[in-house]
Symmetry: C2
Subunit: 573 residues, 2 copies
């Protein structure tokens, strides 16, 4: 890191200070409910959500490149944490908390490595339909995971379907006061989301202000819920579950070196988390930057997000990501530079140090309701319908990813999604353009025999390949070459014109090596012509090059001249 002080700070525009200060303070208060809620979703003590809203946020502000993206606890990383760790340790236990910190640290280190190695392009591994399917599937998982807090009933089962079924059976046993509070909170939040904003705008309020009031409502619901618990003593008297004792005051940094066995176990989940975090953060930062006519550097984003997660590993111990709703709050509150995030983080220190115990009697059902509301808005049916009308293969990839997440879990789901994205891509690139060519009489140009009147040589086949050769299209290339060879009577030479081939991968060079031997057994020599410089440099290190039965010609015409039967000169007079 050459730049110790980030650009936005070194050249801070003083006229933006006011806006950033106001935005920072507003954001601090507005993100409290979601920070608590996502920690709960991750199976961690709620206050950890507040902790990771401090130093990780500052780390991102210093290393990231987006002006307004806000990092913190987000729904997707939270549900991933839960689904990875809950089979290994009881949620909320000290082992579980330690594992979450290791997970955060590992995915942070991987993000840093990817940023340093400029591997940001890896985020393009996933097509949009697959991302959309993954998020929608995760949202359903999130909703199912929160039903236990809303109903006070703990379902058992190994898959989401079983959990849901068990919950339905046990529904008559639901804890009524908890259910009442949860449904009430859910109802208010649903009303706010569906109707209030529209009403406010129609009542004459500006779009900005209406949006702000809507975003304020979760906090209002949380406060109302807590006050109701205190007023009617719902927790001690009625047994409504609440956040419970919160460690007062500011925790220190925890330093630890994870055990090798733990690292081994969490390496793959951390990789998946990194991939998803990468895609989500870069996509969102880019969308925000375009709206604001700014630029982001994908690799700097990775470094920023990586630094935030490494810091989160030692302070708070919960994986963080670039949050859609956090960033939206940040933008709506008027943030101009990352200073707003830094100020919000500093203000959060005050909240944690002074006011954490205020959340002790906050009912979990209210947090669950707000998580479920957020999750519902993540389900994107429209994306499916659009994909369906545009491209069935992409729509199926979306459905399969969502289904995979629900049936086999998050990691397998995203794995299926990647495979499906690629499978459609491969299917579409699996048949490259290939033309049998001949010489245009009187020139040195070679053209498609199907379209032009051209000269050919008896027993010699000239084939031009117009695409890079890689594992996905070799089957079609081999098949086509054999078909064309069968059409030539007594073929004895095959010339591949490689002018359009930018790459032969390792599989291609092996397959052509085999083709070379196979043709040799059939008495056909294989020649190459017009091989591009970089391709040739590499080919010279291959077995194909050293065993090639024919020649390598600079041009198709050179091959033509050489392979033409010796001309019998007939004097015309």
């Amino acid at each position: 890191m050459a730049k110790l002080i980030p650009g936005w700070l070194a050249h801070y525009p003083k006229d933006k200070l006011g806006a950033d200060v106001v935005a920072g303070l507003i954001v601090t208060i507005l993100v409290i409910p979601q920070s608590l809620a996502y920690a709960l979703l991750a199976g961690l003590p709620p206050q950890l959500g507040l902790y990771v809203s401090i130093f990780p946020v500052i780390a991102y502000a210093l290393f990231g490149s987006s002006m307004v993206q806000a990092v913190g606890p987000v729904a997707i990383t939270a549900i991933m944490t839960y689904s990875v760790l809950s089979p290994i340790a009881p949620p909320g236990s000290s082992l579980y908390i330690m594992l979450a910190a290791v997970l955060s640290l590992l995915s942070g280190l991987m993000l840093l490595a990817c940023g340093a190695l400029r591997l940001g392009f890896l985020s393009q591994l996933l097509s949009r339909p697959v991302i959309s399917g993954f998020i929608s599937g995760s949202a359903v998982l999130i909703i199912i995971s929160q039903l236990k807090y809303l109903t006070g009933v703990v379902p058992h089962g190994s898959s989401s379907g079983e959990l849901l079924l068990d919950l339905l059976i046990k529904l008559p046993l639901a804890h009524l006061p908890t259910l009442a509070i949860g449904l009430f909170a859910f109802g208010i939040l649903a009303f706010v989301r569906l109707a209030l904003a529209g009403w406010l705008v129609r009542a004459g309020l500006g779009k900005m202000r209406a949006d702000f009031i809507v975003r304020l409502m979760p906090l209002v619901v949380v406060i109302t819920g807590t006050l109701a618990v205190i007023e009617f003593d719902l927790d001690r008297g009625q047994g409504v579950a609440v956040v419970g004792s919160v460690v007062a005051g500011l925790p220190g940094f925890t330093f630890f070196v994870p055990e090798l066995d733990t690292v081994h176990r969490l390496l793959l989940p951390a990789f998946v988390m990194m991939l998803i975090g990468m895609v989500q953060s870069i996509t969102m930062a880019q969308a925000l930057a375009i709206k604001r006519r700014e630029r982001i550097d994908p690799n700097a984003e990775l470094v920023g997000l990586g630094a935030a997660n490494v810091v989160a590993g030692f302070y708070g111990g919960m994986p963080v990501g670039g949050g859609l709703s956090r960033s939206a709050i940040n933008v709506a509150a008027g943030a101009q530079t990352p200073l707003a995030s830094v100020l919000s983080a500093l203000a959060m220190i005050g909240v944690v140090a002074g006011a954490a115990q205020w959340f002790e009697r906050l009912p979990l059902a209210v947090l669950a309701a707000s998580i479920m509301m957020a999750a519902i808005s993540m389900i994107d049916v429209r994306a499916f319908l659009l994909a369906w009308s545009y491209d069935r293969a992409d729509a199926l990839a979306l459905l399969c990813t969502a289904g995979g997440v629900l049936l086999f879990g998050l990691e397998a789901g995203i794995g299926m999604g990647i495979v499906l994205s690629m499978a459609t891509l491969l299917f579409r690139t699996s048949v490259p353009h290939i033309a049998v060519v001949g010489r245009v009489p009187g020139t040195e140009h070679f053209r498609n025999v199907a379209r032009y009147e051209v000269e050919t040589l008896p027993g010699v086949l000239f084939v031009r390949i117009d695409e890079r050769l890689f594992f996905g299209n070799l089957g079609a290339v081999e098949q086509r070459l054999n078909q064309e060879l069968e059409r030539v009577a007594d073929a004895h030479d095959l010339v591949l014109v490689m002018s359009g081939v930018n790459l032969l991968d390792t599989t291609a060079v092996e397959v052509f090596g085999e083709l070379n031997q196979d043709l040799a057994e059939r008495g056909i020599k294989l020649h190459l012509a017009e091989v591009k410089g970089p391709v040739q440099d590499r080919l010279m290190r291959s077995l194909l090059w050293s065993t090639l039965t024919g020649e390598v010609y600079l041009s198709a015409n050179a091959a033509y001249e050489k392979l033409a039967p010796p001309e019998v000169w007939c004097p015309e007079i």
Copy 2:
């Protein structure tokens, strides 16, 4: 299946009958040791390897398309069966045997479905370096898994490294008679593989005959081992582990309907098994067919392999595949058509019905030695060295796949391999060719402004995109378009010349929709020109089409004429 009688049988060339009969009988005897050994490797009772060498083999002969490929128990599917099922049930238990049958049935049904849907191209998901890494990694897993039979010591551990370490610690406790038999068998097999064939050829034997003798040796070792056990009473007297009681006589078909929960659990492993089986069988069948100047139909191969596995599910209950060494034995024995396999299957009925109890005192250490010898020959260091010298990215993909298999297991390893194959592919296709174009004066042709003297319009940018647009290259396209727009003073129109674009996937149409809106906010209209017919048909169903701020022109020239400022006519005289 329109053809109830396969082509090779309907038009059976009578002159090949003799060769097929001889080959069938030889194959029956030669595959006995490996059939027993791979069943042991799969954690199943050895005789199941013989059972699945009967009816599944006939099913493949009837439905497959290869003339000489032989299916049966193979090393890769055996180790996959073991690694999938051993965490769920104790190997050899009746639950385990049932699960193996379900796994075989499921992967068979998936193969049938892929064959029927003509999805053979899916086997191109894997590049050769990744396949090579997967096989080498699996081979190491196989070797480690067999050490317990060779030493008589059962190691504990969750990863292959732990198992190996534990085994080293416990080595002083090894059962010496078992170790002696195992090492002796291993030594003989190693000597045969490394030296004998060469000696025989140098001694004047033909290559064919030498190869045949080498392939006979495992049987000799198995017989010698069994005779040694009987002679010195090593099993009862010394405690050397042997195959043990074999159910005498021919078992019947077992019909069962697997439980939903079992299916759910095995769906993903069965998918991975199908994918690997597909790749292995198609690749091998193709290689054999090319050598013999025959053709195979990849989708018929899938149907054949699927039918074999479905039958195996009900008869023997062990997944089968196209085996390299089985097929080599078949070819070496002189098989001409699948009739050889059918006859070998019928002869196997005789072996199972009459001679199965001969294997009761066969020592497991000898089988383990023959498995380890086969596994060693699967480790392909040369493929790595070749890839390393040719293309580092492919060599790394190979190494990571092998490492992934060893560290995280077979499924995760192959997943990593697929992701890596794709990542290299995406990286190489992530920057498409894009040219800023202008009109060649006096013509309707548009050419690259960097190479030709062309006319341009003020504030209008003509950009030609030369590749299909998909999720993997959109980042680069967007960035390039924005760069080019910045170079144009007061840009107000952007014309995308789509003559080279064969496809816009769902992600592309979304990204261009966003670009369209983004440009609109900047006061720039987006136009399309020369959109290909099929691309346009699809685009008309998209949001981009209905919200496009500019026009769609038939040709770049039409756009040029329309966007040119109205000409002020200056009379020149």
